[in-house]
């Protein structure tokens, strides 16, 4: 069981939030491959089996369609399942129940569908083309799924609490690169953080960087660097891509008049396209410059370090883009 040392890692924050929701609500259970006696592939549920028992910590066969659909049925009759996908890459095997059952059931019928799907995603772990995918855009196009993408341990905890309590299906994407690299700055709060509320994580004057998940810590580091050159970057962490907090984004862009969108997913039809389009619809006349998107190249994610680094956005590229937009 993760203990709250006051310095929880991103991974521990996920575990603590899940643990506290399972303490709070007997209808919450966790289901997935190797989540029980093994404690999960990344150890988010380490100790859960001992604490909550096999009734609520459910190891499954390798059957993503099966256990995702099972979660839907259990949710329909009042339980609040938390589904763990071992890697977000494998969520493609559950695409059908997510799209056709979970996402549209409430709209079709009015029945609540409180399923939380947790999935570790993303690159920079040298895990290659089918263990590094960013899957958010596959699902963002589909009405009916909320998509939660925390970039800090604090948000990982509070947003998971809200996801589990939400009556809609939520896709909660954990950035596995951040798991053991980020620590909470103080004692971790397990209070819910509302879905659909972005956060200005750094105030600035010259350009707004809109990002989420690993882009937040990456963006903040770059912003500190640029500060030395007198470029003041405002960083907006949107935290949930669905629902999207348009107001916070637009307010920031109105202030800085320049916007760069950053994510690790491929740039083409990545979520940045939606954000850029929204900005031009809502704040076109406030812009001094076109909105610029930073995302991965349109290739699968390679394994070998020099190759992966060439594909996924790197600090130098982010800094250069921000500098260019801020000074143009």
């Amino acid at each position: 069981m993760p203990t709250d040392s006051g310095q929880a890692t991103y991974l521990e924050a996920v575990g603590l939030a899940l643990d506290s929701e399972m303490d709070r609500d007997p209808d919450v259970f966790i289901i997935g491959e190797d989540v029980g006696q093994f404690g999960g592939a990344f150890k988010v549920t380490k100790g859960f089996l001992e604490k909550f028992g096999a009734r609520r910590v459910v190891d499954t066969p390798i059957a993503e369609t099966g256990f995702t659909g099972l979660a839907a049925g259990a949710a329909l009759v009042g339980l609040r399942p938390v589904v763990e996908f071992q890697f977000a890459d494998f969520i493609s095997c559950a695409f059908d129940p997510i799209i056709n059952v979970l996402a549209r059931h409430h709209w079709r019928t009015g029945d609540a569908m409180p399923v939380t799907m947790r999935a570790p995603f993303g690159g920079r772990l040298r895990a290659g083309p089918t263990h590094s995918q960013s899957v958010e855009s596959y699902f963002a196009h589909v009405p009916g799924i909320k998509i939660v993408m925390p970039g800090t341990p604090e948000d990982a905890a509070g947003l998971l609490v809200s996801s589990i309590r939400d009556n809609s299906p939520t896709l909660y994407l954990e950035n596995k690169y951040l798991y053991r690299r980020l620590r909470a700055s103080g004692p971790l709060s397990l209070d819910p953080i509302p879905l659909g509320v972005a956060k200005v994580v750094r105030e600035g004057r010259d350009v707004t960087l809109i990002t989420y998940s690993a882009g937040v810590s990456q963006g903040l580091e770059v912003a500190e660097e640029l500060d030395k050159d007198g470029i003041s970057v405002e960083v907006v962490d949107i935290r949930t891509i669905v629902p999207l907090d348009v107001e916070t984004i637009v307010n920031s862009v109105r202030k800085t008049s320049r916007a760069v969108v950053l994510h690790e997913a491929a740039k083409r039809l990545g979520y940045g396209a939606e954000i850029a389009a929204t900005i031009q619809e809502e704040a076109f006349w406030d812009l001094d410059q076109p909105v610029v998107r930073i995302g991965a190249l349109n290739t699968p994610t390679p394994t070998s370090p020099p190759l992966e680094d060439a594909v996924i956005p790197q600090p130098a590229q982010i800094a250069e883009t921000l500098r260019k937009v801020a000074r143009a």
Binding site: F29, G66, F67, G73, L76, V77, D96, P143
Partner: protein
Amino acid sequence: MATRTRRKPDAPAGTAIADRDPVLLRRIHEVMVLTRAVEDRMVAMYKGGDLLGSLYTGHWHEAISVGAASTLRTDDYMAPIHRDLGAHLWRGMEPWQVMASFMGKATSPTGGRDGTLHYGRLDLGIYNLPSHIPANFPVATGMAFASKYRGQDRVCLAFCGDGSTSRADFHESLTMASVLKLPNVFVIENNQFAYSTPLRMQSNSETFAIKAVAYGIPGVTVDGTDALAVHDAVAEGVARARAGEGPSIVEGVTMRMHGHAEHDPADYVPKDMYDEWSKKDPVELFENVLIDAGVLDGDAAKKVREDARQLAIAARRKALADPMPEPSGIEDGVYAD
């Protein structure tokens, strides 16, 4: 692990008619007759242009849908498919609601948001399925899981066709249900075709029930035109599930007597198949069994049929008069409160 085949001629009925509850027998008969009457009325509605799109019917599936549904308690769950009007009616779905669904009316179970065969009502314990077959199978395992999780003895009955058994949903659900010992009964409606695809192109398995061997659960094949054979086999599975012994498969063998849906002339079906199967009308067969056993007399049977006909006519009248939905508010409910 018992996987067996029960065919009517050589398998004497387990329980004599005289030893069965006559009220239950008459109710099964009534709902089977009503199912046929509503579907015949809807075929006329389809031809007359009342419906939005095509119409999926369950002619010759009445013994399966009603025979199976009639084994459940009212607090059990059900996940039927497009041949199972009888199961819906057994649970209390109104015929006019079903017609309203095929007409896109505001009074359909989804208020016109979904339509045709996509109806269901959670308040009746019936899952409203999407198009994808058999997406109802994993959901059915979840309803059964919830029952077990809560220490209840509710059972979930799921239906699918022969063609649906080829999909991952079938395999993963059977795997999950058998490993987790979930209180499910999976009914396979083997009606010889999946749209135009005949059995021999769908599966190389000798029967569908025999697939149970691989999951380590019981599987049985019964005459799907014999309501009591279906009822008894499903009742055995339900009792087993309720007792915590896990899932089982019941395969009911019948024939799809209409096209896949009414738009489909089904000229790929050999004519002699229709000739053979037309001798095995499940509604007629069951009615004769009851009359022969003295549970029902000829006049009472006639009245059941006439009442069903009138109910179907009244249902059509109501569904036709019902309003179409208002587009305002169409964006409401994408997310739950």
